[in-house]
Each structure stands twice: as structure tokens, then as C-alpha cells.
């Protein structure tokens, strides 16, 4: 470089300095990470003092992982997930995780996190929209392998044409794999749920993977108030010897570990064996219920119980519904709201109890197909006389104005969204 010229500083389009230098080696013993102490889940969740902070959903997830005692995180960039997993990388650099790397693509990442989980360590990955679909073959095999790992899903559009907007239709594909699925409403949930998901997933009678989903951008890139416990405490490490299946760590006698049916016989397997294996996975999903109740305060939350009109929602549709309920109350109307925290296990009994009395039930969703409405309808069939309205629905990245929910509250579905006239006239 010519003398007198300033050193050129390369930056990426966001203005961050690009560097190819090696990361500075930090003295681990001196780091904050090394000074973290293990506390019980009960202390971390319910007893430790909390401080209110105003942070994005991605930052909330980062704060959860900081306290989750994660051993290895494997990442792959996809919008809007990338920011969170970048920040998990920073946590690794600070010593909060023992290993972290960027995989080749989602199929490889979902495979690698399965390998890590089989080794007995606490493993993490995250994805969004098309990435979830790419990894889906592997994801569906996790429950059968009884791998208690955590998948964070920052939902986005999956179908063509290309878009990166929020839309949670992808969750409909996750619902029938045998994975625990929790749907976070806001930044606070996106801090709390991952930690609780690990603890629930690793219970002996559960031993299943868990997904914590959140609606991308609406939560990941927006700020909200989050109450955080101190940074210097973390969950106990994963105790893989107290789970339902042995790890692939060669610490057990190997003779019969994998040669007998039902695991390895493929097309020679008896259908009874495979059927019982699947039944056991779903029984394990059911066995998560008491732990969801204990740690998450129930599978659902009910606002204004007993109201004639009930809204049933999950994810950020709950926040929109809360506002609609508030605006309705200003008009003197009492509207009920059921927030579904746990999509799997599904809150069958809780939903029946919360909606049995209702005259009208509406199910607002951020997706085209109305997967939540289908679940609600099939659960409540025969248990209520209420009119169940599938909608309003928005998708492709659109936000849901509270006016739209109010329209559904105060009009019949036909008045709200349909016309009697043929379109050709």
C-alpha cells in the first residue's frame, strides 16, 4: 500500500468490519462463562430474581442459550434465523458452549445435531421455512432415535414464489413427527420456552426432541420486554444416563445394541414392532404433559374464561388477539382468549374445558391452510355447540390488523370474508 494512504477497512453491506484474523484467545478461567454456576431448573425458572430488558426475539433466544448449558450448536444461515445462531456463535467464542460450527446445509446440520445428541451431549440447532423443509427427512427421524435435542424454528414462508416473510405454515409439517412443539408468542416466551423445552425433552419418560417455534420477524427482529434472571446461572448439564435409551457412547455392553429388531431390520421388520415403536413415541409425547404443566404453567393460558365468544390462537396471533380482546372490552364486550403454548403434546382436555360453554369460537392464524383451526375443530367436535370459525388468516408475510379479528368477532364469517355473488358477474 502506498505510503500516506489510510489503511482500507473492508466492511460488509451492513457496515460490519470484515476481518480474516484469528479470533483472540480468551482466558477461559477468567471468563464470565467459566464462572457460571449450575442451579436447579426450578430456581432458574421461578425463584431467581429477574431484570426487565427491552430486546429482540433473537437476543432473547441468545440469552436462553447462554443459560441453557448447551454443549454443541450447529448452525446454517437462513433468514430470519441467522441472527440468533450468529449470536450463539458469539456465546461459543465467550466460552458458553464447548463446540459450534456452520454445517454444509440443513440436511447435513439436522444429521449432525442428531449425531451429537446420540453422543449424549446437549445439542442445539435452528432453522426457518425452506431450511426446515430441507431438513425434514432427518427431523422426522429424531423422535424414533429418541434424541432430546432442541430445534428453534423462526417461521417464514416456504412456498413459491420466493419470499422471506413471516408465515407459520411450516409448523403443520412438524406436528405429526412425534416432536414436542411449543409455539412462542413473544420475546419473553422465546427466552423461557427453549430452556424449559430442554428440561422437558430430557426427562427419562419423555426422551424426545423439542421444537420451539416463533413467528419470524414479528418476534425475532422486533423488541419486547423480557424478564431475565442473572447471567451467572445455568441449567444442570444433560444427564444422558437417566434417559430412556442408551447413548451411542460405547459405555454399554455392545453385543445386542443394534442388531435386534426393531431398530435395524428395515424391510424385514415386523409391522407389529414398527407399530409399537411409533405408539411409544406418541405415548412419550403424552408423558410430557405433566412436565409442560409444571414448567410452562400449563399447555394453554386462558383470558376471560367463560366468555360467550372465545378466540383460540398460538404464536404471535395471540398478541394480536390480546389487543382485539382489549379493544372489544372498551366497547363493553367480554371476549375470551385461549393461548396454546404446547402444540405437541396437544391440549385436548384443556381446550375442551376452556371452550365447552362457548357460543362462538374464532381461530386467527398466520398461515394459509389453517392448521390450528383443523386441530381445534377436531378436538371440539361433539364437545361444544359453538360455531367454530376458521379465521381470520393472513399469510405470505402480512400482518394481522386487530380490526380484522374484530370484524370476525362482530360479523358472521360470510359477512366478514365471503360474497354470495359468483366472481364472474
Amino acid at each position: 500500500m502506498a505510503e500516506g494512504l489510510e489503511t482500507e477497512v473492508k466492511t460488509n453491506p451492513q457496515g460490519d468490519v470484515i476481518t480474516t484474523t484469528e479470533a483472540p484467545k480468551k482466558e477461559q478461567k477468567e471468563s464470565k462463562a467459566a464462572k457460571q454456576r449450575v442451579v436447579t431448573p426450578e430456581h432458574l425458572f421461578f425463584e431467581a430474581p429477574r431484570t426487565k430488558t427491552f430486546i429482540t426475539g433473537s437476543e432473547a433466544a441468545k440469552e436462553a442459550i447462554r443459560r441453557a448449558n448447551v454443549d454443541i450448536a450447529i448452525s446454517y444461515p437462513i433468514t430470519p434465523q441467522s441472527e440468533t445462531m450468529q449470536q450463539v456463535g458469539y456465546l461459543y467464542a465467550e466460552g458458553y458452549l464447548k463446540d459450534y460450527y456452520r454445517g454444509e446445509e440443513e440436511y447435513g446440520v439436522m444429521s449432525a445435531v442428531a449425531g451429537a445428541s446420540r453422543s449424549g451431549v446437549r445439542a442445539l440447532t435452528a432453522t426457518a421455512g425452506p431450511g426446515l423443509m430441507r431438513g425434514m427427512e432427518v427431523i422426522t427421524s429424531w423422535p424414533g432415535g429418541r434424541m432430546p435435542l432442541l430445534l428453534m424454528v423462526m417461521c417464514r414462508v416456504i412456498n413459491a414464489p420466493l419470499a422471506i416473510q413471516p408465515d407459520n405454515v411450516e409448523l403443520s409439517y412438524l406436528l405429526n413427527c412425534g416432536i414436542l412443539v411449543f409455539h412462542a408468542e413473544n420475546q419473553q416466551d422465546f427466552y423461557d420456552f427453549p430452556l424449559k423445552a430442554y428440561v422437558i425433552a430430557e426427562k427419562c419418560e419423555v426422551t424426545l426432541p423439542a421444537a420451539v417455534a416463533v413467528d419470524g420477524f414479528f418476534v425475532t427482529h422486533a423488541r419486547g420486554w423480557v424478564e431475565l434472571p442473572p447471567e451467572d446461572i445455568k441449567l444442570p448439564p444433560r444427564d444422558c444416563y437417566h434417559e430412556a435409551v442408551p447413548m451411542m457412547d460405547n459405555e454399554n455392553p455392545p453385543a445386542r445394541l443394534s442388531r435386534d429388531a426393531p431398530i435395524q431390520k428395515s424391510n424385514f421388520i415386523s409391522y407389529q414392532m414398527h407399530a409399537s415403536w411409533q405408539q411409544e413415541i406418541w405415548a412419550a409425547v403424552d408423558r410430557a404433559r405433566p412436565w409442560v404443566k409444571k414448567y410452562m404453567g400449563g399447555l394453554i393460558e386462558v383470558v376471560n374464561p367463560g366468555a360467550d365468544t372465545m378466540i383460540v390462537a398460538s404464536g404471535s396471533a395471540v398478541s394480536q388477539s390480546r389487543e382485539a380482546v382489549r379493544q372489544a372490552s372498551e366497547r363493553g364486550d367480554r371476549i375470551g382468549l385461549v393461548k396454546i403454548r404446547s402444540l405437541r403434546p396437544w391440549p385436548t382436555q384443556e381446550l375442551i374445558e376452556a371452550c365447552r360453554h362457548a357460543k362462538r369460537i374464532i381461530v386467527p392464524e398466520f398461515n394459509c391452510v389453517g392448521w390450528l383451526a383443523k386441530e381445534v375443530r377436531s378436538t371440539l367436535y361433539g364437545h361444544t355447540q359453538a360455531e367454530i370459525v376458521s379465521g381470520p388468516r393472513v399469510f405470505g408475510g402480512m400482518s394481522m390488523p386487530t380490526e380484522l379479528i374484530l370484524e370476525y368477532l362482530y360479523k358472521t364469517p360470510n359477512e366478514a370474508r365471503l360474497t354470495d355473488k359468483p366472481l364472474s358477474i
Binding site: I72, G108, S111, A114, S119, D249, N250, A255
Partner: protein, 293 residues
């Protein structure tokens, strides 16, 4: 795995299955096994459902003898003939999704490293040509680029044997197979060349004609993967069914193919060479010093 864990509790000897007793008394754990000992203990591989005369089975049996520490080894496979035999071995085996072996192995190896920092746990992928060069290609290449410390063994029968004989990327050009009715249109993939490009620390190509060589090659590959980086062994393991090789002629075919285009070849990095020399010297020094008093 603690060898103490493997031992039978006093009083239970007469109730344990015969294979288990054989394993404990004569098995390959905690000692170096020679090829000449094959068959002296019952269950490193038994009752496999492979076709009569399958060269792949011979290769797998011999390769398992070569493992330096089977009591600390996990094998991964994918859909294909090989896993039918591998899953019968007395070594933990992971059978995942199509093509995911090297992805799973990456996470597994790293996880085991976290849990057992003072105990080498060997991870070996043993999968077919379709599983590694076609559907698993991305995971294989990236595990090599990332320098993941495990061994990849390709059971190259140059065909999709388990699904009924379709062409694979490793099939030779011009061969007529199902899904290649006019003959395969492109050359056999150069996985050895790709491994070189990716900087794999130890690369070997061989046919199943020399059992001692198979065991030694696998042993070297697994040892080098512990310390230096990824290793790759590509083995010709003919499919006598799809290539219509008469059962008594399988080894004749192996020898002919070896002579023609599959001769033994080793590519070893300087670092790997130095590492092997070091452990050989340590072994000799230990032998001279004798057992500790």
C-alpha cells in the same frame, strides 16, 4: 466402554447367551486381533442376510478385525447392502437416513470428544457407493473440508445393489444397468481425486484380495483419523448378483479387477506418516520395557 462392564456378573455365566460368553472370553476387545484369529470367536459378525459369495461381506468382516479399538468404536451406515452385515456386528451401529452418514458422524465424533476428553472414541462410516458418492456426496465432501476426525470407508460395488441394481455415480461408463438402459453416460466418479483435493490425510484404494492388507489399511485409517484428520478407504466389493458373477468366481473377479483398475494405492500426508511412525516407535518401546511390575 469399560471392559469391566462387559464382564459377566459372577453366578450368571451359565445363563448368558453363547455368543456373549464367546465375546467376553475370546472377543476383540482390549487387544489387537490378527486376521488369522477370524472365526475363533463367534460374534464379530454372524448370521448376516447377505447374498452367497458376497465380496462385501468378506471385506466388512476383515475390516472389523482391523479396528484398533472396537470397544470404543461406533460405525455408521446408510441404506444399502453393507448395513445388513454391519448391523449384525457386535459394535454399536447407527443406521440413519439416506446419505446422512458423514453429517451424523461429524456431530457424533465432536459430541463424544466433549464427553470423553481423555478417551479416544473412534467413529467409522462404512457405506456404499450410492450412499457416499451420490446421495451423501455433500455431507462427505464437507466433512472432509471441515477436517472431521473420522474414517469414511466406501463399499464400492459400483451399483445400487440393495435397491435392485441401478447405476450409481461409481458405476463405470458404458455399463448397462437398470436405469441405464443404454449404458451409463458418464465416467466413474473420481472420489480418490476429490479426497486428494479436499486434503484428506490418508486415502487408500484396495480390493478384497488380501485380508491382512484390508485389516492393516483400516487400522491405519482409523488411527490417523484420531489425531491428524479425515481418512478415506475405497474398497472394491463386487455385487455378484447385479454383475452376474458366479459365486465361485467372485474372488477371481476381485483379482482381475484389482489387476486391471483397482490396484492397491495409498496416499498419505507427511503429518499422517510422522504420526504412524511415532505410534509405532511408542509401541516398540512399550514392548521392550515389558509389562509394568
Amino acid at each position: 466402554m469399560s471392559l469391566e462392564t462387559l464382564k459377566i456378573s459372577p453366578g450368571f455365566e451359565s445363563y448368558m447367551p453363547k455368543e456373549y460368553v464367546d465375546l467376553v472370553e475370546r472377543g476383540p476387545y482390549g487387544r489387537e486381533v490378527k486376521v488369522s484369529e477370524m472365526g475363533t470367536f463367534k460374534e464379530i459378525l454372524e448370521e448376516h442376510p447377505m447374498c452367497a459369495g458376497c465380496a462385501m461381506t468378506l471385506f466388512i468382516r476383515t475390516a472389523l478385525i482391523g479396528l484398533p479399538a472396537p470397544e470404543h468404536t461406533v460405525i455408521l451406515g446408510t441404506a444399502g447392502c453393507g448395513r445388513l452385515a454391519l448391523s449384525q456386528a457386535s459394535i454399536p451401529f447407527i443406521y440413519g437416513n439416506y446419505g446422512d452418514t458423514n453429517g451424523v458422524a461429524s456431530g457424533l465424533k465432536r459430541g463424544l470428544g466433549i464427553r470423553f476428553p481423555n478417551q479416544q472414541k473412534d467413529v467409522v462410516v462404512m457405506a456404499g457407493d450410492g450412499g457416499l458418492s451420490d446421495i451423501g456426496f455433500s455431507c462427505v465432501m464437507h466433512s472432509w473440508f471441515r477436517k472431521e476426525k473420522f474414517t469414511t470407508v466406501m463399499l464400492d460395488n459400483e451399483v445400487y445393489g440393495n435397491t435392485g441394481g441401478q447405476e450409481s455415480g461409481m458405476t463405470n461408463k458404458g455399463v448397462v444397468l437398470k436405469m441405464a438402459p443404454h449404458g451409463k453416460k458418464f465416467e466413474k466418479m473420481d472420489m480418490i481425486g476429490l479426497a486428494k483435493t479436499a486434503g484428506v490425510a490418508y486415502i487408500a484404494r484396495l480390493a478384497p484380495t488380501n485380508p491382512t492388507r484390508i485389516a492393516n489399511t483400516i487400522r491405519k485409517a482409523v488411527l490417523i483419523a484420531r489425531e491428524v484428520g479425515p481418512t478415506y478407504v475405497q474398497a472394491y466389493t463386487s455385487c455378484n448378483i447385479e454383475y452376474a458373477i458366479p459365486t465361485p468366481k467372485v474372488m477371481d473377479d476381485a483379482r482381475a479387477v484389482e489387476k486391471d483398475r483397482y490396484g492397491f494405492m495409498e496416499i498419505i500426508s507427511d503429518e499422517a506418516k510422522a504420526y504412524l511412525e511415532r505410534i509405532e516407535q511408542e509401541k516398540k518401546a512399550k514392548a521392550v520395557a515389558g509389562p509394568k511390575a
